[in-house]
């Protein structure tokens, strides 16, 4: 059955054993299977995503006030959006300030994060003693990156205070040493800022490192073998084999890192807080501003990637 189906690439009715039956071309078979493969996702998308999405879009134009047993809705147009941008304040900050900060931060962090995690992934892919242990250690930030764990560890403020008193919260005072060496304050503050960011970057880099590691390992090995026989150095092999093969995944990592930065940022916290305060309209409007910002950033990055020809798979077409 299957065999005759697939071998028949051209659509034509065939009669075998005197029995007439449908012959489906490979192309049509693909279409049918595509529908089957996508079915769960499409159902989930329509029911669990699209409907809530449209609802939230509608909410963002309404003032929703919870009443006993029902929700009172009044249409207020773009009032929620205006409120979110112009009027919203929290005890320490405001939505607009946090949104701008997060956007700028993520744009600065993104290139550093990409280069750093690719570099670490290449290092972790080499063979050396203790590789398993090092890989496990680099996995710790992925686990720690959880709201529940963060809440519990946040309770440890008292502990860090005690540690500070005994003077072991910092191994050494970097800023002091750097100023002693006679560098200008601007450079010193830049270096100190970069170093204090190392932990943040490490925490964000956990997932990108693993993604890069998996993608590096899916590079066909015969390419490296051929290159070695031709006498390529490992430096050349990185630029000419690893990087082109990994480049489609750079796009994935970029999307992930950008969304993750926003998701773990204070912008996202503000949205959750407003949701908890039952300001549904306002929080929906904020969520849509947030989504709009990310989409604009992703769009411009996509244009950039196309211009630089990053991300296309050379096996395609």
């Amino acid at each position: 059955m299957m065999e005759s189906n697939t071998k028949d690439m051209i659509l034509k009715p065939s009669k075998k054993d005197g029995k007439k039956r449908f012959e489906i071309s490979y192309k049509n078979q693909k279409r049918i299977w595509a529908a089957i493969f996508l079915a769960p996702w499409v159902i989930g998308f329509l029911l669990l995503f699209l409907v809530p999405l449209i609802r939230s879009l509608i909410y963002s134009f309404y003032d929703l006030v919870p009443q006993a047993g029902s929700i009172q809705q009044t249409f207020i147009g773009f009032q929620n959006y205006a409120n979110a941008i112009n009027e919203h304040v929290t005890s320490t900050s405001s939505f607009r300030v946090e949104l701008i900060n997060t956007t700028v931060d993520s744009l600065i962090n993104l290139p550093v994060l990409l280069i750093f995690s690719l570099f670490i992934a290449v290092l972790l892919n080499m063979k050396f003693r203790g590789r398993a242990a090092v890989r496990a250690i680099f996995f710790i930030p992925v686990i720690l990156n959880s709201a529940a764990v963060a809440t519990a560890l946040g309770g440890g403020d008292a502990i860090s205070q005690i540690l500070e008193q005994s003077g072991i919260d910092r191994i050494f005072d970097l800023e002091f040493y750097l100023i002693q060496t006679g560098l200008t304050p601007a450079i010193v503050s830049f270096i100190v800022g970069l170093i204090s960011r190392i932990y943040d970057i490490l925490a964000l880099a956990g997932v990108p490192i693993l993604l890069f590691l998996a993608s590096i390992q899916s590079v066909p090995k015969h390419l490296y073998e051929a290159a070695k026989i031709e006498g390529a150095t490992s430096y050349e092999m990185f630029w000419l084999i690893t990087l082109p093969n990994v480049s489609p995944h750079i796009v994935t990592v970029t999307v992930y890192a950008l969304v993750d930065t926003f998701l773990t940022s204070s912008v996202s916290t503000i949205i959750s807080d407003e949701l908890r305060l039952q300001h549904w309209g306002l929080s929906s409007a904020m969520a849509w501003i947030y989504v709009g910002t990310i989409l604009v950033m992703l769009g411009s990055l996509a244009v950039l990637a196309k211009g630089l020809k990053i991300g296309g798979s050379h096996y395609e077409n």
């Binding site: 159902i43 050396f128 992925v142 519990a152 309770g155 502990i159 998996a214 947030y290």
Partner: protein, 333 residues
């Protein structure tokens, strides 16, 4: 005789110099030196970064191993004076550890399988079974990645309430089985990128050999995307393990019959005293410790460590899955 010795010495020096400057030997030495400095650099760099990651963790582990009475003993900085696993015991009681661990493990495992199935299928369809409009559909996948879960959770909650799935673990399973679980969008993206990277010849040769589309996917493409499978499976597991958001929204762990680690941890972090009181840990330790806020903070930290620990142990086994890609048989490169 004298000249003989002189000649001899001269000859041997020349021989030595020749040996040293012989191109092949020089090349070999250079290579050795390069390899040495390369690995030295690698070790210094990696050990440094590992230290940055481990420093807070080590601090907390050592804190956890202190005897409860020593918690704010200023004389103890790093190494505990009196070793004790009392804190760990208390945290385990407060977390209802073994019970919650089993539940969390079961749920994470089922979610992992469901996520893998739904996202791998969708990712394959988006990369290899292209049809008219599949690019437009894929834009919607990007949208599912970008939209924050907060924007949807209210409407999703109302949905599940209509289906009377609220308060049951199956609500989480439905979400992940339909490709709308925790970050399913990024999983679809990962699978799509991996499948796109596989050579077309693989698919073509399978087709010529008469494999159906599903067989091509199952027997040829999927084994070649093992890296993606391991990665996605790992993330799906860990993120479900750590998830507190969806579990809270859908009230999965609200009943006492189905405790989950993250919810227990949040309870502990918010109110250590009550949690210890209800779990009966109070009777295990002297009353005077309870006046100590540091001790309560310590218990919540130890609880966080206890939640991370199983994941770390599991990862040590899973990381072998990040092996070199399977040799692509059937294609001559």
């Amino acid at each position: 005789m004298k000249t003989n010795i002189y000649d001899h010495v001269k000859a041997s020096i020349h021989g030595y110099v020749d040996k040293v400057t012989e191109p092949r030997a020089m090349y070999k030495r250079q290579k050795k030196a390069k390899a040495f400095f390369g690995s030295l650099f690698r070790y210094v760099f990696l050990i440094g970064l590992c230290f940055v990651i481990l420093f807070p963790t080590i601090q907390q582990v050592l804190m956890a191993l202190r005897a409860p009475g020593d918690v704010n003993n200023p004389a103890v900085v790093w190494i505990p004076e009196n070793w004790s696993i009392m804190n760990i015991k208390l945290s385990m009681l407060a977390l209802d550890y073994w019970h919650a661990l089993m539940n969390t493990f079961k749920m994470s495992f089922i979610v992992m399988i469901l996520q893998l199935a739904s996202t791998a299928l969708a990712g394959y369809a988006f990369s290899r079974l292209r049809f008219k409009g599949s690019n437009i559909l894929f834009i919607f996948v990007i949208l599912t990645i970008v939209i924050p879960p907060q924007a949807l959770s209210l409407a999703q909650y109302l949905y599940f309430r209509e289906l009377s799935l609220v308060g049951k673990e199956s609500s989480i399973y439905v979400m992940s089985g339909l490709g709308m679980g925790i970050r399913s969008g990024i999983f679809i993206y990962i699978f799509r990128q991996f499948f796109r990277g596989l050579p077309k010849e693989l698919e073509e040769s399978a087709m010529i050999d008469g494999a159906s589309v599903f067989r091509t996917f199952w027997n040829v493409m999927l084994p070649n995307a093992r890296g993606a499978m391991v990665t996605v499976g790992l993330f799906a597991f860990v993120w479900q393990w750590n998830d507190a958001y969806f579990v809270k929204i859908f009230e999965v762990a609200s009943s006492s019959e189905f405790p989950l680690l993250t919810m227990k941890l949040i309870n502990v972090a918010e109110n250590v005293y009550a949690q210890l009181f209800y779990s009966g840990a109070l009777s295990l330790i002297g009353q005077n410790v309870w006046d100590n806020p540091l001790f309560l903070a310590l218990i919540s930290n130890v609880s966080a460590l206890l939640i991370m620990l199983p994941l770390l142990i599991m990862y040590l086994f899973v990381q072998r899955g990040f092996v070199e890609s399977i040799e692509r048989t059937g294609i001559v490169g």
